[in-house]
């Protein structure tokens, strides 16, 4: 914690270097995203010919028009929000209620239960058996088919368990019990607030995974309640089917093909923007959790 007055020059130099490095890294990370953004407004052939660098070329809204012309886009968006919210809550709850007991050293059979969980990491039934289970449990066509089969992410569960074991001071838990907390109250009032950082990380993982998921939805939902990625995919399929047909029958493949390419860029933006907006709101919890410096001595 050095104050910066005395060695002004070298501090300034290191500031400049650090800022430069950070800016370069930022540009490297941000440019591809920016590129997709301007590409979604540009003539795709100009994009492929390398004419878009900083500004869109041949400015057009055609791609977005095509994407938003599909009436399913709104329901797709709402479905995705629903699956993401419910899925995120569900998977975080599942993580907590499995990881916390396993973090207790006095849990009977703890070793074997852990092994049981870990086993599933290495040996999965695969798609067809999972499909059969989902079908025979009557989950087909229900949104719970998206959450229940992979309800506990075992890898993440182990991370959370280790966090409980290592980063939540045992003294603090003991202290709360001495003060008269029940086990349950300890979990609610001490453990959960203290584990905010890991909760936030797990929530982000789950959120991104559910937001992007289309395969499980395609297999299990049977065309009902399609989430956004499936809707976007459908729009893209339609456009590319149209250009293929054009190739065979009426000509104009190149023109329709442009549309398809444009839709690709637009759907990337449409799918990514909600996540980009949501991210900062979750991110603040990453730091918040660290403020709980309740242990003294």
């Amino acid at each position: 914690m050095r104050k910066s007055k005395s060695t002004g020059m070298s501090d300034k130099a290191s500031d400049i270097i650090l800022v430069t490095i950070c800016t370069v890294v930022l540009l490297i990370v941000a440019y591809p995203l920016y590129y997709v953004l301007i590409a979604s407004f540009s003539d795709p052939y100009d994009v492929y010919a390398g004419k878009t660098f900083l500004l869109p070329s041949g400015f057009t809204f055609d791609g977005y028009k095509a994407v938003f012309a599909d009436p399913k886009i709104v329901s797709g968006f709402l479905n995705s929000v629903k699956y993401t919210v419910i899925g995120t809550i569900f998977s975080v709850v599942m993580l907590y209620i499995t990881a916390y007991p396993l973090a207790q050293k006095d849990l009977p059979g703890r070793k074997w239960i852990s092994l049981f969980f870990v086993f599933t990491m290495y040996f999965g039934g695969g798609l067809v058996p999972t499909y059969l289970v989902v079908r025979d449990t009557g989950l087909m066509g229900s949104m719970w088919a998206l959450f229940l089969p992979g309800g506990v992410g075992v890898g993440n569960m182990i991370i959370v368990r280790n966090y409980f074991q290592n980063s939540i001071p045992h003294d603090l838990v003991e202290a709360s019990e001495i003060d008269g907390c029940s086990k349950f109250r300890t979990f609610l009032s001490v453990v959960i607030p203290l584990s905010m950082p890991i909760l936030a990380v797990q929530a982000v993982f789950a959120m991104v995974a559910y937001w992007n998921d289309w395969f499980t939805a395609m297999i299990y939902l049977g065309g009902k309640g399609e989430p956004l990625p499936l809707v976007l995919r459908g729009i893209l399929m339609k456009s590319s089917a149209a250009s293929e047909q054009a190739s065979m029958i009426s000509g104009g493949y190149a023109e329709l093909n442009k549309q398809t390419e444009l839709i690709k860029f637009c759907s990337m933006i449409v799918a990514a923007v909600p996540m980009l907006i949501a991210y900062p709101y979750v991110q603040k919890y990453f730091e918040k959790g660290f403020m709980a410096g309740a242990v003294k001595g």
């Binding site: 795709p44 010919a49 054009a246």
Partner: protein, 552 residues
């Protein structure tokens, strides 16, 4: 990601298959007699569908055919990932009565057929009381029956094909519309400006390309940014936009057919082009062009969209595609076909391919869940008339076709302008919206007595016959309908993918870095035999061809 998933899926399927096989054949015995049960009149069918289609429920053609057959079909349609989803369902034992438009390979058909999931259709397709139309076609064209019969002598799927060949224009010999899959083209306006004639030999083409480059023709003629001229572009070993037509001066055009680089010679010998001296010469020769910047540096990496983009901008002097207009867009009028070139010693060998009009049987299979196959097949038999299959392929009479026939008694399709005016979509989109995917057997004779072929297909056949075939001396090709035994299919499955990949990779490396030294060349050939099973692959194709030739 999708590839990963499908790979994972394939692995799972394989496991599932192993266990399923272990269980033995528990389906009903596939006897030689048709099942005469006619109780079932309502059927569930999973089918592929165009993403642009609104569904099959209201399709007037299908509904009329159902009424004739006295059955009702509940369609479950999927426009993509059909194979994946159907595989899961079939392996999970959740069987519809029939599966339509998946496009099973012979390998899949044999697997599901022997496993008892798909029933043998042989007794039905030969029975004129159940399938009068199809049985008559199979009688008339025994080669179609041969092509759909698996090596165990059974038929697990109904035939489908689009025989859009030169025979459909009334020509005596029927060659596939894809016989020559790449048409090379050159910018005539640039040549004229430079005072050059359309090249006839490779050396002349080299001179022209050098001139295109030196004078930056795209900049000069089309006002593109300075330095944007690409003298020659293509996609390495791509289907209709590959470089293979340019190998003609060296005695081969190694386009991909039943197997990459496979050729049946005039003397009916099966050989691989990729071990011939001409092949080595060609790659060595064109490497110089690549090194001199006459060939687009991106030929190995670009996809068709990037290629279309470049060509549409007017950057490219020489290119390949299956027609000029689509590729060159606004500049199309400036381009002419560049005929196959002559080599230093006058060689110009163009071989033709058969792929494209092949008959396949992967478009409709009936599962063991179906109680009355005869009822269902009476419905499918109606697919095998010219008028019906035309409507299934393009759209109903009154929508895609005009009600009145023309003077020759043939149906005339709607034009693009009429389609836009009447239905607000292009003719292609209209077709996609009303098309039914499934076992459509479009015989070449239908194009001369039922309906007219599409303009652009006719144009292409015309180009083939009147321009490109002039450069073909020998019209021998490896027949695409050869039937392989299960063990041959296993061999192909084992060796072919790696073989094809290795050859292609090596070809690209030499093209980029310079042709092989003698030692490298010998080592490469030896490696193909030792590691990549070239002789085994040759053996399979040779045996299959011998059986085919003997049957004729």
């Amino acid at each position: 990601m999708k590839k990963l998933l499908s790979l994972a899926l394939a692995a799972v399927m394989l496991l599932a298959l192993l266990t399923a096989c272990g269980g033995g054949n528990n389906g009903p015995a596939n006897s030689g007699e048709p099942n005469t049960n006619t109780d079932q009149t309502e059927f569930n069918i999973i089918s592929g569908i165009s993403a642009l289609s609104g569904g099959y429920d209201d399709n007037p053609v299908l509904n009329a055919m159902m009424e004739n057959a006295g059955i009702k079909i509940n369609w479950e349609t999927m426009s993509d990932s059909l194979g994946e989803q159907v595989n899961i369902r079939l392996t999970g034992g959740e069987l519809p009565d029939a599966v339509q438009a998946v496009g099973w390979s012979n390998y899949d058909l044999g697997r599901y057929g022997r496993g008892g999931t798909f029933i043998d259709l042989t007794p039905y397709v030969t029975d004129a009381s159940i399938m009068p139309n199809l049985s008559a076609i199979l009688e008339k064209y025994p080669q179609i029956k041969a092509a759909i019969t698996q090596d165990d002598g059974k038929i697990y799927g109904l035939p489908a094909a689009e025989m859009m060949g030169t025979g459909a224009t009334g020509a005596a010999d029927d060659y596939s519309i894809h016989s020559i899959q790449q048409f090379s083209m050159i910018n005539k306006a640039w040549l004229d400006d430079l005072g050059l004639a359309v090249p006839e030999t490779v050396e002349e083409l080299r001179t022209a390309l050098q001139a295109f480059k030196d004078n930056d023709m795209a900049h000069k003629m089309y006002g593109a940014d300075a330095g944007s001229t690409i003298p020659m572009s293509f996609g390495f070993d791509q289907w209709c936009w590959g470089q293979n037509i340019f190998y003609a001066p060296f005695g081969l055009t190694n386009w991909s057919d039943v197997c990459a680089d496979l050729r049946l010679t005039k003397d009916k010998e099966v050989v691989f082009d990729c071990v011939s001296d001409g092949y080595r010469e060609a790659i060595t020769y064109y490497h110089d062009w690549y090194a001199d910047g006459l060939i687009d540096i991106e030929v190995f990496s670009q996809d068709d969209k990037q290629y279309l983009a470049k060509c549409a901008q007017g950057y490219v002097g020489v290119a390949t595609w299956w027609e000029i207009n689509e590729l060159m867009a606004d500049h199309a009028a400036d381009y002419v076909y560049l005929p196959p070139l002559k080599g230093p010693d006058g060689t110009c060998t163009v071989t033709i391919k058969s792929a494209g009009s092949a008959v396949n049987s992967g478009m409709l299979s009936i599962t063991k869940a179906c109680e009355s196959p005869a009822n269902l097949l009476k419905f499918y038999d109606q697919w095998y008339t010219g008028e019906n299959v035309m409507q299934l392929q393009y759209g109903p009479i009154g929508v895609y076709f005009h009600e009145e026939k023309d003077a020759q008694g043939m149906y005339v399709s709607i034009t693009d302008e009429e389609a836009r005016e009447k239905f607000g979509k292009s003719a292609g989109e209209l077709k996609a919206a009303s098309e039914v995917q499934g076992p459509k057997l479009i015989l070449s004779e239908y194009y001369t007595n039922v309906f007219h072929m599409e303009e652009r297909a006719l144009q292409r056949l015309d180009d083939l016959q009147n321009f490109w075939f002039k450069y073909v001396d020998d019209f021998t090709f490896y027949p695409v309908d050869c039937v392989f035994t299960q063990s041959e299919l296993d061999d192909l499955d084992l060796y072919r993918p790696d073989f094809e990949n290795h050859v292609k990779e090596q070809e690209a490396l030499w093209f980029r870095d310079g042709g092989p030294s003698d030692a490298e060349w010998e080592a490469y050939k030896q490696d193909l035999i030792d590691t990549y099973g070239m002789n085994q692959i040759l053996e399979v194709y040779k045996n299959a061809y011998d059986r085919y030739a003997a049957a004729e």
